[in-house]
Amino acid sequence: MNLRFSASCLAFLLAASAPGLASDVGEVVLVRNDVRGTPQGGSPKPLAVGNGLGLGLRVDTGADSGARMTFDPSGSLTLGSRARVVIDRNLVDQVTGRSDSALSVLAGQLRLALGKLFRGEVSIDTPTAVVGVKGTDLRVEVDEPTGTTMVTVIEGVVSVRSKSGGEVIVRAGQRTLVASGHPPTPPALVDPSSTALSASAGGPAFTTPQETVFPDAPLLGRGRDQGFPVPGGVILGGPGIRPNG
């Protein structure tokens, strides 16, 4: 009994003394059309701007849809239309700032950009390949029926390993294909202008929120403390006409 209690205490102390690990992944900042999030063991719900991203969350985008989200501590994750992505892991050591993250791309397009502050690695798992990402900007596209994965590197260097064997290093401006049961194709040069997956990939661009197009303002109405429609009350209160005056 005492041994079990001591072991529990020890485990608790070890957990408490370990470097702080945060599991928050990021926040949705732009949404276009149909974007849904399914928490682990939960049911799908529409994702909206401002929603947080938790571990195990599966994000699905519909046709002509997309989403952009922060990928903490310093990353940007953009999904194109008809994408299915699961956030498997995102651990940030708050002492060293190093992180260890993993995503699964089941279908569709994804762009991941990591900033200078992102110290660590991201592993992207697809049906046919595993992509190792470290401080870069890349696009991953998975063809759903075949699982064929195309990895295009916009900036930096990534390693792409086929699940059936074979690994290549892909540099900026190069792309590789990984088909089921095959090793990655040798990296080939691509047109740099075709590599950018913006938030508008697969459809029209994200429009800025309606309220941002036209700056908005107060709808001043009469308040109970106003004897007069506008200037009589609230912040401009003071002696004035009385209700019966």
Binding site: V49, L220, V230
Partner: protein
């Protein structure tokens, strides 16, 4: 000649230096260019924008553009963020406005304390003529104190998107007017209200007949406000009017340059501690026309109301209003308004000499608000009103003195502390 030859190496060195400097700068800039940096800065910039932190958004969008000068989205968002940043200072003059804070950081309560001092040309509302005799109108000086406190237990509840959820506000206000000479006209008023709102607003609050309440920042096409409360007014310490009130307000933002607000208000009025009771209802609609920005607008409104009481008069009213809000600078806002109201009153009681009379009331007002410091505003107001009644007879009731004509002008300066 020899002097020229001796200076040539120095000149060549300076020339080379001048040529090399821009090249070095270009190389340095090129080295800093990064699509990854631009993408990340842009995404976090949008997040800052969504949270209302426009200064941070501007910084991040600029960082994105430095890293990728061809980033068109970042340029567009930078322009929007800069505009919102400029307008931020202007909109804080709005009632109860606490700044464009992220929803989760909105304070759960607010407080406003105000004091004003002014002159009132006709506080007793004395007519120009009584029983055919010219009367002397006495003017007086008045001090006004005003305290409003509100708490907001929740925002945007019941929806995945807080901007489309329910918000609750509980508000209370006390107000006192004290005249320098005419003590018998001193007025005190307290009010309390429960306000349930649905939807969001670009400036984070909705207004209705019972005042304003906070809601999430956003731009829902429709917003709804349900209000219920009580107002108690006393003159010289004696009960004057207690009104139990409920109201429904609907705001439709049908276009970027217009919005429509419809209000329905019902009241049970209790005059002079139960001496007389009346039911009142009114329906009003107003149309906003925004002049380039949302805090600069023209508003036209019309409302119809009716008060039924068994003892005095049944009064039907029709009122038209026009209102102009004009921000002069980021810190100074001017508002102008005018209205005309027609009341048709009919007595069901035979003791009155006239069973029916009409009253027309015109009002014009101007107000200026100047934000002199954080939380502190200086305000100035002036209003003029004239009431004309078409009956030549003297009609008296417990609470309404209806004469043939009276005028009143009020002007004041004050300070407001808003937290």
């Amino acid at each position: 000649m020899s002097r020229t030859r001796s200076n040539r190496p120095l000149l060549l060195f300076l020339l080379a230096l001048l040529l090399a400097a821009p090249l070095a700068t270009v190389r340095a800039s090129a080295a800093e260019r990064s699509t990854a940096t631009a993408e990340v800065a842009f995404t976090y910039g949008v997040r800052a924008y969504n949270h209302g932190d426009f200064a941070e958004a501007v910084r991040l969008f600029r960082e994105a553009l430095e890293a990728d000068p061809g980033y068109a989205d970042a340029r567009q968002w930078l322009s929007l963020a800069e505009r919102r940043q400029r307008e931020g200072a202007a909109v804080v003059t709005a009632p109860g406005f606490g700044g464009l804070l992220p929803l989760r950081d909105q304070p759960p309560f607010d407080l406003r304390l105000g004091a004003a001092y002014g002159t009132d040309s006709n506080p007793a509302q004395v007519t120009n003529r009584t029983f055919g005799v010219l009367t002397r109108v006495v003017h007086d000086r008045v001090t006004d104190l005003d305290l409003r406190a509100a708490t907001y237990p929740f925002y945007g509840r019941g929806s995945d998107d807080p901007r489309n959820g329910w918000s609750l506000g509980l508000t209370g206000q006390v107000k006192a007017d004290r005249f320098q000479d005419l003590d018998s006209l001193n007025e005190r008023q307290w009010s309390a209200a429960v306000q349930l709102a649905w939807g969001s607003d670009p400036l984070g609050y909705l207004t209705g007949p019972l005042g304003y309440t906070r809601v999430p920042f956003g731009h829902s096409p429709f917003s709804l406000l349900l209000q219920a409360g009580r107002t108690d007014t006393r003159i010289n310490g004696d009960p004057q009017l207690t009104a139990d009130e409920a109201a429904l307000t609907l705001v439709a933002r049908e276009a970027v340059v217009t919005a429509t607000q419809v209000e329905l208000d019902v009241q049970r009025r209790n005059y002079i501690d139960g001496f007389e009771k009346a039911d009142f209802w009114s329906v009003g609609a107003s149309q906003f026309f925004f002049l380039g920005r949302r805090d600069r607008y023209l508003r036209f409104g019309v409302s119809r109301g009716k008060e039924n009481d068994g003892l005095r008069f049944d009064t039907t009213s029709l009122e038209g209003t026009a209102e102009l809000a004009l921000p002069l600078t980021d810190r100074v806002v001017v508002q102008l308004a005018g209205s005309r109201r027609k009341d048709e009153s009919e007595s069901s009681f035979p003791i009155f000499l006239s069973s029916r009379f009409d009253t027309t009331t015109d009002r014009v007002a101007a107000a200026l608000s100047w934000e002199v410091g954080r939380h502190l505003y200086v305000t100035g107001r002036a209003s003029w009103s004239e009431r004309r009644t078409d009956t030549p007879f003297f009609i008296v009731s417990p609470v309404l003195l209806a004469f043939d004509k009276y005028q009143r002008t009020v002007a004041s300066v004050g300070i407001q502390w808003v937290w």
